[in-house]
């Protein structure tokens, strides 16, 4: 998938992964990777961005004598996810338009 496009979608994928319960880096990747390509090095900048924009926050917990950082979706994050759902119709229309352009070539 196109890099820019994927980057945009990944934010929402991460929010989706956090919707049910708080999660940590490795688990987020495990949850998302069946649906979209993601690597360790792409996840972190996304988490940072989400945290800076207040859509998630994070806290440390101890796990097996080491620190594990958990991420938690905020109200703003949930709102962003809901807003995206509303945008879906629009997105599908754009996809149809693009697909139509390819077919007519």
């Amino acid at each position: 998938m196109d890099r820019q496009l994927r980057k945009g979608l990944l934010e929402f994928c991460v929010l989706t992964a956090l919707k049910e319960e708080d999660s940590y880096g490795y688990k987020i990747i495990e949850d998302i990777s069946p649906h979209i390509e993601i690597s360790e090095s792409t996840l972190y900048p996304i988490l940072r961005r989400l945290e800076e924009s207040g859509k998630v926050n994070s806290y440390n917990t101890e796990y097996h004598n080491r620190i594990r950082r958990y991420f938690h979706i905020t109200e703003a994050g949930t709102a962003a996810l809901e807003a995206f759902d509303k945008d879906r119709r629009e997105l599908l229309k754009v996809l149809d338009y693009i697909a139509g352009g390819i077919e007519h070539e």
């Binding site: 490795y26 690597s39 360790e40 090095s41 972190y44 900048p45 940072r48 080491r66 950082r69």
Partner: protein, 154 residues
């Protein structure tokens, strides 16, 4: 490459970032490698999975300018310092000429300006120190142009 080497190399490649910022990335990758190893994968393989350190660092640096340490602009500093020295010597022409070498027939040589096109070399007989004035003018002008260009970029 083992975990320690990987984290060290990452730290080195992120030296333009603030310390606390670097630490966050280090913790993230440390945790990630631990988590991968817990699924039964060897340390070396877990590290390998992260990809090249240079690539990761480049992505991090490209992603956010946040937390970036400002590198000193030595070229700009030099230009400003030279400008100030020249302006001061223009304002105190007599003393400067004395420092530069005594009587009126002495020649002054000034090599000024850090930029290629602005480097000048003036050697002339001193009455009114025209050479000094011209050099000052050129250096101050190039400093101003340099600074204006720099701040427009940001």
């Amino acid at each position: 490459m083992n975990r320690q080497e990987f984290l060290k190399a990452l730290n080195r490649n992120l030296k333009n970032l603030k310390k606390e910022e670097r630490k966050k990335y280090e913790e993230y990758y440390d945790e990630m490698i631990s988590d991968i190893m817990e699924t039964g994968i060897s340390e070396e393989k877990a590290v390998k999975r992260q990809g090249s350190v240079e690539r990761i660092a480049a992505d991090i640096l490209a992603e956010g300018g946040k937390g970036k340490v400002k590198t000193r602009d030595w070229r700009g500093i030099c230009l400003v310092v030279i400008s100030i020295i020249l302006i001061v010597s223009c304002l105190l022409p007599t003393s400067f000429i004395k420092i530069a070498g005594g009587n009126r027939n002495t020649s002054i040589s000034i090599i000024g300006g850090a930029d290629g096109p602005t480097s000048i070399f003036i050697a002339g007989k001193v009455g009114i120190p025209w050479g000094l004035y011209i050099a000052t003018f050129v250096v101050v002008l190039s400093t101003v142009i340099y600074l204006v260009r720099k701040y427009r970029k940001h």
